[in-house]
């Protein structure tokens, strides 16, 4: 007779207790409206009690007959699938739940057999062994089913929302932009608003209806201590899926060495890709993966965050490494906008990152990204400073031909017209440098026109930069020997600056006061030009003896000649000069015309006797027409224009 120990009552009295308990359980089992969980508990209890009674009732090996029967039944159910080519979960929900029930049964049998600590019993040992082999077979099968399910549904659930970085602003700001006219520049550089709107966006990485199946497999595997295999399989498939998404975004996985040496055009593209990838990977895919992990593994302690970390680690660290390489690099002025993009994106996402990696294991990820954010902030400041230095130190060896708008003015004004987009970030980052700049800015903004926007840190820095530009332009103007050309040059450039401020988002930051002052400046140069060029010429036509009669022939001839020579000199020089802005050109022509033509007409009018003389080289109409040739930018000689006028 076997000696039952611990869990098994040995006395007859206990038999009654067991029998009574069994009876109650059976009675409860017939109750309607039992919840599934409760029913399961009762079934388990029933099985245990059956086992106990059958053991007690028996002598020796006979006691395990029922157990063996049950084992045989469940063995059939499990083994039959081994030779089948079809997947259980593909076959149908009934097959799946039957299989899971069978596995449950095996686990129950094992628990019960273990509960009987009858070490000497051969039969028990044999049955236990059979059951645990069967369990391993089932677990192995469940692992395969799981992987199959995840892989099959992974492919079907690719979100059609696969963004392309080409929709983002991908224009590289370099010298070539300078040659574009204003409209196309604006268009080329304008932001795609879609990229901004991309906040969190959780997708179903695995279709909703599959989740319960995965969970049911998880439950069974974890209950049988095969949770590790479940995680291993789950992580494997999900990690691969995430890395495929990452690959689609075409991140080059470049080494730090390569990135530090990369030329600007390619680097700008890579930085764009990073910004985009961060939004998609962190904002969409990682949030979704985390949700999936929580859904599937939420009940099993800290397993869900462990699995998520393993799935996400490689990808997120790849993104981190790129960011660090950029923060390390030399911060040239042209990088500023891309750095701002990177900074803003990370600043937006850092909260998500904190939430995703909130557990201990992920704390280093959080720390590193916070460090990176600081690093990028420093990079932005450095690039901004470098920009300022570049503006003031930009040197020229030769005067700018034609006196038109200097490329430096175009570069600077076009570049800074994009800063208002980043206003809040720049204000934040430039705040501590505000105090140094405020003192440099020579035009304090006060009075009724002053507002928050003109006094914010970014506005102060912008005015400091344009102030630098002005100083530089003054230096450059001195390279022109001709004083008139110096004034034309400055007039052109200052006018350009004002137009740029008026016609862009810079306006509120510079304010009306600034515009007024700078309008006055270029108008001053306009007047200076006129004085320098035409005063002496007009002087030649002046009436030396007002009130007297007309001049003598020789005096008249002399004056005419003097005027012609001077006029032709100006014509020869100044037709090659350039005033790009049509309005400004027109203004100057009108103003010049008024002065010069009027003086000439008056002069001729006062000496009507000599009007038909051949010494008059040019008629008033000639002079008028010739003046129109000025500032066209192409040098002309008088002979050419003469011929043209005659035909």
């Amino acid at each position: 007779m076997d000696e039952c120990q611990s869990a098994i009552p040995a006395h007859d009295g206990d038999l009654h207790v067991v029998a009574a308990a069994h009876h109650i359980v059976k009675a409860l089992g017939t109750t309607k409206n039992l919840s599934d969980d409760l029913r399961k508990i009762l079934i388990d209890l029933d099985a245990h009690l059956s086992l106990i009674t059958s053991n007690i009732d028996s002598k020796g090996g006979k006691g395990f007959v029922e157990v063996e029967e049950r084992l045989k039944r469940v063995e059939r159910k499990i083994v039959i699938w081994e030779s089948d080519r079809i997947m259980i979960w593909d076959s149908g929900p009934k097959e799946a739940s039957d299989y899971l029930e069978a596995v449950d049964e095996v686990q129950t049998l094992i628990d019960s057999l273990r509960g009987l600590s009858m070490n000497e019993n051969q039969k028990q040992k044999e049955l236990l062994h059979r059951a645990s082999s069967l369990l391993q077979m089932a677990m192995s099968r469940l692992e395969e089913e799981l992987i199959h399910m995840l892989v099959k549904h992974k492919q079907q659930s690719e979100p059609t929302y696969i963004p392309s970085p080409s929709s983002q602003r991908n224009v590289v700001y370099n010298e070539s932009v300078v040659s574009l006219d204003n409209e196309s520049v604006k268009e080329a550089l304008s932001k795609n608003s879609c990229t901004d709107e991309c906040g969190e966006y959780i997708v179903d990485l695995v279709p909703e209806h599959v989740i319960p199946d995965i969970k049911s497999i998880a439950k069974v595997m974890f209950a049988s201590d095969y949770g590790q295999e479940f995680c291993e399989a789950f992580i494997g498939v999900r990690k691969e899926a995430l890395e495929q998404h990452f690959d689609i975004l075409e991140n080059g996985k470049l080494s730090i060495e390569d990135l530090l040496k990369m030329e600007w055009c390619s680097l700008s593209t890579e930085m764009n890709k990073w910004t985009w990838s961060m939004k998609i990977i962190v904002g969409v895919y990682l949030m979704s993966e985390k949700r999936l992990c929580d859904q599937v593994l939420g009940k099993f302690g800290s397993v869900n965050s462990f699995c998520f970390l393993e799935i996400a680690k490689t990808t997120i660290l790849c993104l981190l490494n790129f960011g660090e390489a950029i923060a390390m690099g030399p911060q040239e002025p042209e990088k500023l906008l891309r750095l701002l993009d990177m900074y803003e994106t990370l600043a937006d996402l850092v909260i998500d990152i904190d939430a995703l990696f909130s557990e201990d294991g992920g704390s280093f990820v959080r720390l590193e990204f916070h460090k990176l954010l600081e690093g990028l902030a420093d990079s932005v400041k450095a690039a901004f400073n470098a920009f300022g230095v570049a503006v003031s130190s930009n040197g020229s060896l030769y005067p700018f031909p034609g006196g038109g708008v200097h490329p430096l003015s175009k570069y600077v004004m076009n570049y800074i017209s994009m800063f208002p987009e980043y206003c809040s970030t720049l204000n934040l980052l430039l705040e501590d440098q505000h105090s140094d700049v405020a003192s440099l800015v020579s035009e304090p903004q006060c009075g009724p026109t002053a507002s928050l926007s003109t006094s914010c840190p970014m506005a102060c820095h912008l005015r400091s930069i344009t102030s630098s530009l002005e100083s530089n332009l003054h230096k450059k103007s001195k390279l022109h020997k001709d004083e008139a050309l110096q004034h034309i040059f400055l007039m052109n450039n200052l006018h350009y600056m004002v137009q740029k401020v008026k016609g862009s988002e810079l306006r509120p930051f510079f304010g009306d006061e600034w515009i007024r002052k700078h309008n006055a400046k270029f108008q001053q140069h306009e007047m200076n030009y006129e004085r320098v060029t035409w005063s002496s010429v007009v002087l030649l036509l002046k009436d030396d003896n007002p009130g007297s009669s007309s001049l003598s022939k020789s005096a008249f001839k002399e004056k005419c000649k003097g005027f012609s020579v001077a006029f032709e000199e100006v014509y020869k020089n100044q037709t090659s000069w350039c005033i790009p802005d049509p309005q400004l050109r027109e203004d100057l022509r009108i103003s010049t015309s008024l002065k010069v033509v009027h003086a000439y007409r008056t002069f001729l009018g006062r000496n009507p006797a000599h009007v038909d003389d051949k010494c008059i080289k040019h008629t008033v109409e000639d002079v008028e027409k010739l003046l129109l040739d000025l500032f066209e930018g192409s040098p002309r000689s008088l002979r050419n224009s003469r011929r043209m006028m005659k035909t």
Binding site: R85, I86, M87, K125, L128, H129, S132, S133, L134, L135, Q136, M137, M139, S140, E144, I147, H148, V151, D225, Y226, Q228, E229, E232, A233, I235, G236, V237, K239, E240, E243, G252, K253, L254, S255, I256, E257, D258, L260, K313, T314, L317, C318, N321, E324, M328, G361, F364, E368, K371, S393, G395
Partner: protein, 358 residues
């Protein structure tokens, strides 16, 4: 001159410290075998200490313009370039530690499977499956482009393969964080390029600690690459061109030669990392897989006992990995950040010291 004497003293002290630290590393206590996780921690500490002293000597209280003149106008930028290469290695190795952690995870399954009494066929099968994955993970061909994808492996023959046990492939695709054509071996080689010991007058001046620090940096990176699997280690140089006469270098050279010997031995057999724990794990896995192959319930008592001993050893290794691997990654990150800072410092010095731009 006072400052010059002081400088010479500082340099001598620095090199003495270097020598001492590497001597200590050469004779590790018993449970701290060469290239074990804890030994690597100590190696990284040595690097951080040496680097701190080096920076102090070169930068502190020094007129920056001194470092912009020859030969420093060549030596410093070269050092900075090597530092950048070291950064890429740090990242690759930190990534590689993840693959070692994967091995650790797989060994956990093996332990769960075999730590049963009585051991059954089911347990043995479970262990064998995990062991196969473990061995394939350790001997993964670390050539670029050989990702083993979960989707390719088992499902290329329809649903079930001919022999289920053979399907125990490496379910986790081992994706490297680094660029496709990046090679850790080549990186080390290029770090060694142009590394020439200072001669004559330079040998007693500042060029000497610069050379020393270069050698230390290269050695540390080299040892990490040898220990931890990372992309493309084929062709890892085994010879360091460091002259033996240098007193401070003796222990370092000794260590280097020991590790190089091990490397050469293992290279022929195909490579997991030289990491002590990995090596031991591999041996245990091999003998355990033989055991599980031949096991039939209830099994030979002797063999079962032997297997139990192996499992117990495996548990110990698992424990060491569990404790030390994640901190190792953190430690490598610390080294990474230190090198970044150091590079920035030296770049600043060069900028300050060079002629101001008009």
């Amino acid at each position: 001159m006072d400052t010059q004497e002081q400088e010479l003293e500082d340099i001598e002290l620095f090199q003495k410290h270097v020598s001492d630290r590497f001597t200590e590393l050469s004779s590790p206590p018993e449970d701290d075998a060469l290239l074990s996780v804890s030994w690597l921690h100590r190696l990284l500490d040595v690097f951080l200490c040496c680097e701190a002293e080096f920076e102090a000597i070169l930068i502190m209280d020094r007129d920056p313009s001194q470092l912009s003149k020859p030969p420093f106008d060549r030596l410093i930028p070269e050092f900075i370039e090597r530092a950048v290469k070291a950064l890429d290695i740090c990242n690759a190795v930190a990534n590689g530690v993840d693959s070692v952690r994967h091995c650790q995870k797989l060994s956990e399954i093996v332990i769960s499977a075999l730590d049963q009494n009585p051991l059954g066929d089911g347990h043995a099968k479970r262990a064998k499956k995990a062991l196969l994955m473990l061995l394939s993970a350790m001997n993964l061909d670390d050539k670029e482009g050989t990702h083993v994808k979960a989707t390719e492996r088992s499902w290329s023959f329809g649903r079930r393969g001919v022999n289920k046990e053979q399907i125990a492939g490496h379910f986790r695709s081992l994706s490297w964080q680094v660029a496709k054509n990046w090679s850790s071996a080549k990186q080390i080689q290029s770090m060694m390029y142009n590394l020439v010991a200072p001669r004559g007058a330079e040998a007693s001046g500042l060029p000497s600690p610069i050379y020393t620090m270069n050698v230390i940096m290269i050695f540390v990176m080299w040892a990490l690459v040898a220990a931890i699997p990372c992309q493309e280690r084929n062709g890892l140089p085994t010879h360091f061109p460091v002259p033996k006469q240098l007193n401070w270098a003796h222990s370092l050279i000794g260590l280097q030669e020991k590790i190089a010997d091990e490397w050469k031995k293992k290279e022929k057999k195909g490579m997991s990392g030289l990491l002590d724990e990995l090596q031991k794990m591999e041996k245990l896995a091999q003998s355990l897989i033989d055991f599980t192959d031949s096991f039939h319930f209830p099994g030979d008592a002797e063999k079962v006992k032997e297997a139990a001993a192996n499992v117990s050893e495996l548990k110990e290794i698992f424990g060491r990995m569990d404790q030390g691997l994640t901190p190792l990654q953190m430690h490598i990150r610390e080294v990474f950040h230190r090198i970044v800072r150091s590079r920035t410092e030296f770049l600043d010095v060069l900028e300050k010291g060079s002629a101001p731009v008009v």
